[in-house]
């Protein structure tokens, strides 16, 4: 293999590039990314960076003395993959031939239709998003967060600490019920109300109001003013100076359409990241890996997966697919909200019981174990890093 191209220059792409070098690949290595920035860390964007306690330099994922001997092609989007030539087409018209391709294009924040051009409305996925949101939060006032998932909850928590008046709107009856289940989702999302942040559940958003309105309802030249309220489906109108839309992310795989790489909720992969095309693997948030334990494909959108799994995919790529997939550790993620550390490992779906093993939910300091037919399938910790790590270790070792 003489040229490997990594498409996507963030955590999964960087981890793949590192792993290629660590495994002795000494050919040409090209890393393509559509953002102008070198790889940076996203979790602080909703936490310390947004709060102003970490600066941009602190976000860098690379070490100062690190040199992967890679060609960095930044600020350019990949628009296609030609399977016969195994060439990547770039938005600037260039084409890059490669013997091996690592797809690491991640995910993009979902937006609300009809909000384009309305000032004060944000999503949060990139450094540029975070800069813009930070500037708006500095104006103070009323923030409405649409979506009570992890990103929405972290933004609410950070904005609350900055002194804003915060409301969170969630369409489901209980926030976080998807990842954590009803009971634990309720306990974790009670952090909002503990701190006087309003949480409105079970009601959808109809639209946003604000901006200039002409008779026809069409804004002049696409220029619109600022948002002033969030309109709910039950007729309520929640005044807002700033709105954050935190309604999930979709995998960035449009550029692969027609390439022969099978797509299904992201890039469909084997248990080691291999795709339907030889010489092409996929990693990170864009990849829907096969989970041999559950017998289904799963797209895991967490930091630790994007860090760890590329090594397995790179091993597959370098061995031309002749490796036995190792068993990836079960998915782990963390979240920080209102000063509370939330940690989770495993899959809550399919659990038939959840028991608190240590501590007390009322005190927001406890450890809970999810079981299916008596076997642990997931563990949740709030402010219990030590115990959580022990459980995580045991749980990982005990997997069949």
């Amino acid at each position: 293999m003489r040229t490997v191209a990594v498409v996507g220059a963030s955590l999964a792409g960087l981890s793949a590039a590192r792993s290629l070098r660590k495994r002795g690949y000494d050919g040409r290595l090209v890393v393509i990314g559509d953002e102008p920035h070198r790889p940076y860390d996203r979790p602080p964007l909703s936490k310390e960076f947004l709060a102003g306690t970490l600066g941009e330099a602190d976000l860098a994922l690379e070490r100062d003395d690190e040199d992967l001997q890679a060609e960095w092609v930044l600020g350019t989007r990949a628009t296609g993959l030609d399977r016969t030539e195994r060439a990547i087409r770039l938005a600037d018209g260039r084409e890059m031939r490669a013997d091996g391709v690592v797809i690491a294009t991640g995910a993009a924040a979902r937006t609300l239709p009809g909000t384009e051009g309305l000032a004060g409305v944000h999503v949060l996925r990139t450094l540029d998003d975070a800069r813009a949101l930070r500037d708006d939060l500095a104006r103070g006032g009323r923030l409405v967060v649409i979506g009570g998932g992890f990103i929405g909850a972290e933004v609410a928590s950070t904005a609350y600490a900055l002194g804003l008046d915060v409301t969170v709107v969630e369409a489901a009856p209980t926030p976080l019920a998807g990842p954590l289940g009803e009971v634990m989702g309720g306990i974790v999302s009670a952090l909002h109300t503990d701190h006087g942040v309003r949480l409105l559940c079970g009601v959808g958003v109809k639209g946003l109001s604000g901006g200039e309105r002409s008779e026809t309802g069409v804004p002049p030249d696409g220029v619109r003013g600022r948002v002033d309220a969030v309109l709910l489906e039950d007729g309520r109108s929640i005044p807002a100076d700033t709105v954050v839309v935190g309604v999930g992310a979709r995998p960035c795989v449009e550029w692969l359409e027609g390439s022969g790489v099978a797509l299904d909720n992201g890039v469909k992969c084997g248990a080691d990241g291999r795709t339907s095309l030889a010489g092409v693997v996929a990693v990170g948030d864009c990849a829907n890996w096969y989970d041999p334990h559950a017998g289904i494909h799963r797209r895991v959108e967490h930091w630790t997966g994007a860090l760890e799994r590329p090594d397995a995919a790179v091993a597959t790529l370098l061995a031309y697919g002749a490796t036995q997939p190792g068993v990836p550790r079960p998915p782990y993620f963390w979240s920080d909200q209102y000063g509370v550390k939330i940690q989770f490992v495993g899959h809550a779906a399919g659990a038939d019981s959840v028991t608190v093993e240590e501590g007390a939910p009322d005190e927001r300091s406890f450890l809970a174990v999810y079981r299916r037919a008596g076997t642990p399938v997931a563990v949740l910790g709030m402010n219990q890093p030590r115990l959580f790590t022990r459980w995580r270790k045991q749980f990982t070792a005990a997997r069949p």
Partner: protein
């Protein structure tokens, strides 16, 4: 400086003992029976490495999974970028002692700024 940590008999293999000095230091007893001492605070954020996942000669931070080599203090992967200090360990009459490194510690930005800003 030599500091008494704890009795060797009180620190089973696979466990860590944290010394509440400033900045805190932890002694690790590996599954193979070796003893190591490193700065307890992860260089990324405010996490106690004594709460971490000990495997072989490495400890994984309990929060974001950077691993530190107990022998050298080196870090393997982001989000942490800087190594932790290592300290010498001695055992005498069943007692574990730590000889503190004279190097400057690599504290995470949140703690470094707190120290710079005066008393917490």
């Amino acid at each position: 400086m030599m500091i008494p940590a704890c009795r060797l008999a009180d620190l089973p293999r696979g466990e860590a003992h944290r010394l509440d000095i400033d900045p805190p230091v932890s002694v690790f007893h590996t599954d193979d029976g070796e003893l190591f001492a490193i700065d307890d605070t992860c260089t990324h954020q405010d996490a106690s490495l004594a709460d971490g996942w000990l495997e072989g000669c490495e400890v994984e931070c309990p929060l974001h999974a950077s691993k530190f080599d107990l022998r050298t203090g080196a870090v393997d992967a982001p989000p942490a970028k800087l190594p932790v200090r290592t300290h010498e360990v001695l055992v005498e009459d069943g007692m574990i002692y730590v000889r503190l490194s004279t190097e400057a510690p690599n504290l995470p930005p949140c703690i470094a700024s707190r120290l710079a800003g005066g008393p917490a």
